[in-house]
């Protein structure tokens, strides 16, 4: 069974020629018939699919469309062209603690963050202790998040996110942060997800990570697929290409 199926996907962005956009300038521009913007495709003609339980590594330079792809799959953007299909519940580790409010305590934020991720109060209450112990913030859980260190905030965010029960998990470079010990915990958690048959899409700049964990690697450049296939082969090609691209600079 296919867990994720992406067909001919395209996302476009508009670059407005005006710096500050206001009702006033728009009114003037319309009168002068100069209301204009340039449209460019952040992602185009992207098609691929993933079998259930597999892990896909996504690589590419900055601005190649990796994050746009995950944003479409998590529902943040809706496709401007083409379509995609996901079987099951999606959970995204795109930005940890994005829903945290600095004035609320860790405890209140867990409930709020869980609600943003689509969990009911009961579901969150059942997981609450696990979330707190995994994050390791300990007794700080009842102080406002604004008093947390950035590491603590991150760990709490990650902890909330991984205690969801997704069928498909989207991970955007979040593993690059956090200390060694916490990273180890994260990899262990990912292993656990894989054993449960969760499909994972992972953006990474770490080729070893991709080679070790993924069955397939997708290389994006300028919004198009450059290559897709066996990780070792694709990452080698990508690194070779990066070297030549560097020379061009």
């Amino acid at each position: 069974m296919k867990a994720v199926k992406v067909e001919n996907l395209g996302i476009h962005y508009r670059i407005y020629h005006r710096q500050a956009r206001s009702l006033k300038t728009v009114a003037i521009d319309i009168l002068r018939r100069r209301y204009s913007y340039t449209q460019f495709w952040g992602l185009r003609n992207v098609s691929f699919d993933i079998e259930k339980g597999r892990m896909l590594g996504i690589i590419g330079r900055n601005g190649s469309g990796k994050s746009s792809l995950l944003k479409v799959l998590s529902g943040i953007y809706s496709p401007d062209e083409g379509s995609f299909q996901i079987n099951g519940r999606v959970s995204a580790l795109i930005e940890l603690g994005a829903g945290f409010h600095p004035e609320l305590t860790g405890r209140e934020n867990i409930i709020l963050n869980g609600a943003i991720l689509g969990y009911s109060r009961e579901e969150m209450a059942a997981k609450f202790d696990d979330i707190v112990s995994f994050s390791g913030v300990g007794k700080f859980i009842d102080s406002p998040v604004k008093n947390f260190s950035s590491g603590m905030e991150l760990r709490l965010g990650f902890s909330v996110a991984v205690h969801s029960e997704p069928d498909v998990m989207l991970i955007d470079e979040v593993l690059a942060v956090g200390d060694k010990q916490f990273k180890k915990k994260c990899y262990k958690k990912i292993e656990e997800f894989r054993e449960k048959g969760v499909t994972i899409l992972l953006i990474s700049h770490n080729m070893d990570e991709v080679n070790n964990y993924c069955e397939t690697c997708l290389w994006l450049d300028k919004g198009n697929i450059s290559a897709i296939g066996e990780p070792k082969k694709v990452t080698r090609e990508y690194e070779k290409w990066l070297l030549t691209a560097e020379k061009d600079l």
């Binding site: 508009r14 956009r21 009702l23 795109i94 930005e95 994005a98 829903g99 609600a115 689509g118 009911s120």
Partner: protein
């Protein structure tokens, strides 16, 4: 439109969380939070009382009660619009990073102030007793008035919050508009002071009949003519539907540029 409502029902837990968060933040660090939120309308009432009944000697029966029954619903509308205008931009981190129905943000602002409005009605009780105003069956008009005003607040909030993402001067435009709207609504003066010749044009303001309905409910005065009530219902529904339509029309681009 059906999707708009269905998303809200599906994410009602989150909406509740947002409202609870807003109420908590509003009243946090002050046990007197609720009383602070009452102080402002009471001060406004006092101010207008002095200006209009002492200085200008306006002749309205029970003028203080008349004032407060107009100021409370007006404050709800005004604060809802001001609050929700920024609601999307203030949560841009969230919108960029996680999917959830974005209309929940302006909704939560309006609902927070709606709770505030209903709580502030409690302060009316001692005032009504003091002025010996009897409770009549007209109280039954109140739920209608609250519903219509909420629909208008929601429609405009959806519209303004989305527009503000695109154009920063929406803020100035809406501030001027709200100020004009205040003086064109029967908050500090009764409809009867408007000259007959302009009366029909004046009643085109959809919140005029609604404010009158609030007074009918609390003061037991005559309700506005049925035709005006029907007109308000139609406009309130239209405002809500148009606001939601605009919001979703703009949503895809909004998320990219926010």
């Amino acid at each position: 439109m059906i999707k708009h409502i269905r998303q809200i029902i599906r994410f009602r837990e989150l909406l509740k969380n947002f409202v609870v968060r807003d109420l908590k933040l509003k009243y946090k660090n002050s046990i007197l939070g609720y009383f602070w939120s009452l102080l402002d309308p009471l001060l406004t009432m006092l101010l207008f009382m002095v200006v209009f009944s002492v200085f200008m000697k306006i002749n309205v029966e029970n003028y203080p009660v008349f004032l407060i029954t107009g100021i409370l619903p007006w404050n709800f509308l005004q604060m809802s619009l001001n609050g929700s205008l920024m609601s999307l931009v203030q949560s841009r981190q969230l919108i960029r990073k996680i999917y959830f129905p974005r209309q929940l943000l302006p909704y939560s602002v309006v609902i927070t102030y709606l709770v505030n409005l209903l709580l502030s009605f409690l302060v009316l009780i001692p005032i009504l007793i003091y002025y010996k105003i009897p409770v009549t069956l007209n109280v039954l008009y109140l739920p209608l008035a609250v519903t219509l005003l909420t629909l208008i607040a929601l429609g405009l909030s959806l519209f303004l919050s989305a527009l503000f993402v695109f154009f920063y001067d929406t803020l100035y435009a809406s501030n001027s508009f709200i100020r004009l709207w205040f003086y064109l609504s029967p908050i500090i003066y009764p409809v009867a002071t408007v000259p007959e010749a302009f009366r029909n044009v004046y009643m085109l303001n959809p919140i005029t009949p609604i404010i009158c309905l609030f007074r009918t409910g609390f003061l037991g005065t005559e309700p506005p003519a049925l035709i005006f009530i029907v007109y308000s219902i139609v406009v309130a529904l239209l405002a809500f539907i148009t606001g939601a339509w605009f919001f979703h029309k703009a949503e895809n681009n909004m998320v990219k540029i926010i």
